[in-house]
C-alpha cells in the first residue's frame, strides 16, 4: 500500500465514523446513513483497488481510471453547487417575504393623502 492510499483511507474512515456517529445520535435518518455509508465504502474500495476504475473508464471510452474520477467529481461538484444556489435563492426569497410581511403589517395611509380602502 502506498502512503497516499494509507492517508486517504484514514480520511474515509473518519468520514464513515462521523456518519455512523451522527446516525446513532439520531441526527441522520436511516436512508441518509445508508447513502453515505455506501459512498464512503465505494470511495474506500476505489482507493484500495484503483485499477477497478480503469475498467469502468475503458467501458466509457475514457483513457484512465483517474481521469474518470476527476470528471465525475467535477460533475458532482457542479451539480451540488447548483443545488446550493437553488436553496440559497429560496432562502433569499423567503427572507424577502418575511421582511415584506413585517413592512406591510404597518401599512396605514396618512389622513391627508388619498382616501383608498386601506387595510
Amino acid at each position: 500500500m502506498r502512503p497516499s492510499q494509507f492517508f486517504l483511507l484514514i480520511f474515509v474512515l473518519i468520514a464513515l465514523t462521523k456518519a455512523i456517529h451522527s446516525y446513532k445520535q439520531r441526527g441522520m435518518r436511516t436512508p441518509e446513513c445508508l447513502f453515505w455509508t455506501l459512498v464512503w465504502m465505494g470511495t474506500a474500495s476505489i482507493i484500495i483497488f484503483p485499477d477497478a476504475t480503469s475498467f469502468v473508464a475503458h467501458l466509457l471510452g475514457i483513457g484512465r481510471g483517474a481521469d474518470l474520477i476527476i470528471y465525475m467529481s467535477l460533475l458532482i461538484t457542479f451539480y451540488l453547487i447548483f443545488r446550493i444556489h437553488l436553496t440559497l435563492a429560496r432562502f433569499e426569497q423567503e427572507i424577502t417575504e418575511i421582511v415584506r410581511a413585517i413592512a406591510l403589517a404597518r401599512l396605514t395611509e396618512p389622513a391627508d393623502s388619498g382616501s383608498g380602502n386601506g387595510e
Partner: protein, 245 residues
C-alpha cells in the same frame, strides 16, 4: 414590443390635486440626500399618494420621507431593488390603486414625465409603460449608454424581448397588470424580470421617452461595473431557476 413615441410639448396638464387612483412607489436605499426633493417634485405634479419603501437604509431616509407625509414602509433588512418594488406594488394594490408608478429615489427622473407614462394606460393602449431614457439619450454619458445597451442585449438573450432601456426605474402599470406579475428576484435584476413577466402574461407594454437627469449624485447611485456584473450573474441564474422550477 411596440414603441410608441409620445412627443413632448403636448398637453402636460397637472393632475388634479390628489388623483386618488394613482399610487407612486418609490424604492429608497440610503437616499437621504435626494428623497425630499423627489417627493416634493411629485407632489407638485399633483400626486398625493406616494409610497416610500425604505429598504433597510442606514441613513435618515425614513425620517426625511416621513416629514413629507408619505406612506412609509420600512424593510428591517436591506433586500434590494426587487424586494422593495415588490413590497411597494403589493401595498399600492392593497390601497386600491388603479394605476401604479415606480419612481427612483435618486432624483434621476423628471416628475413631469409621470403624466405621459400614465396616458397610454388610461387610454387602454397599454398595460405597462416603461419610461425609456434611451429613446432620447441626451445628456447620458457614453459609458452609461454602453452599459444600458449591454443590459438590453442580455435581457434580449435571456427573455427574447428587445427594449431600449431594460434597466429603467420609471414605469407605470395598470393595477390588473401589477397584480398578475410575479416578482421573484430581490436585486437589480428585477428590471429585466418585470419585462420577462410582461411577455409571459401577454401584457401590452410600450415605451415612452423620458428625460434622465444625470447628476454626479444620481450617477453614483446607479449600477457600477461590479454591481452590473453581479446583476448579470443573478439574472442568468434567475433564468436557470425559472427553467428548472
Amino acid at each position: 414590443m411596440k414603441f410608441l413615441r409620445l412627443e413632448t410639448g403636448g398637453r402636460e396638464e397637472r393632475r388634479s390635486r390628489g388623483d386618488k387612483r394613482v399610487v407612486i412607489v418609490i424604492p429608497a436605499y440610503n437616499e437621504e440626500r435626494s428623497i425630499t426633493a423627489v417627493i416634493r417634485g411629485l407632489k407638485q405634479q399633483g400626486f398625493a399618494r406616494l409610497i416610500v419603501v425604505d429598504d433597510g437604509s442606514s441613513d435618515h431616509t425614513s425620517e426625511r420621507a416621513r416629514q413629507e407625509g408619505v406612506i412609509l414602509l420600512r424593510h428591517i433588512l436591506n433586500r434590494g431593488l426587487g424586494g422593495a418594488l415588490g413590497t411597494g406594488i403589493n401595498a399600492a394594490l392593497r390601497l386600491g390603486a388603479e394605476l401604479i408608478v415606480t419612481f427612483d429615489a435618486d432624483g434621476q427622473h423628471d416628475p413631469n414625465d409621470v403624466g405621459r407614462l400614465l396616458e397610454p394606460i388610461e387610454n387602454g393602449k397599454a398595460d405597462i409603460v416603461i419610461g425609456s431614457r434611451m429613446l432620447d439619450p441626451i445628456g447620458m454619458p457614453y459609458l452609461r449608454r454602453l452599459a444600458n445597451w449591454t443590459a438590453n442585449l442580455v435581457t434580449y438573450l435571456l427573455f427574447q424581448v428587445w427594449t431600449t432601456d431594460s434597466q429603467s426605474g420609471l414605469r407605470a402599470f395598470s393595477s390588473q397588470a401589477a397584480a398578475r406579475m410575479q416578482i421573484l428576484t430581490s436585486g437589480m435584476e428585477v428590471s429585466s424580470e418585470i419585462i420577462a413577466e410582461t411577455v409571459k402574461n401577454g401584457l401590452k407594454c410600450i415605451e415612452v421617452p423620458v428625460k434622465a437627469i444625470y447628476t454626479d449624485y444620481s450617477l453614483s447611485k446607479g449600477q457600477s461595473f461590479k454591481v452590473g456584473l453581479k446583476t448579470l450573474m443573478r439574472l442568468t441564474l434567475a433564468k436557470v431557476r425559472r427553467l428548472t422550477l
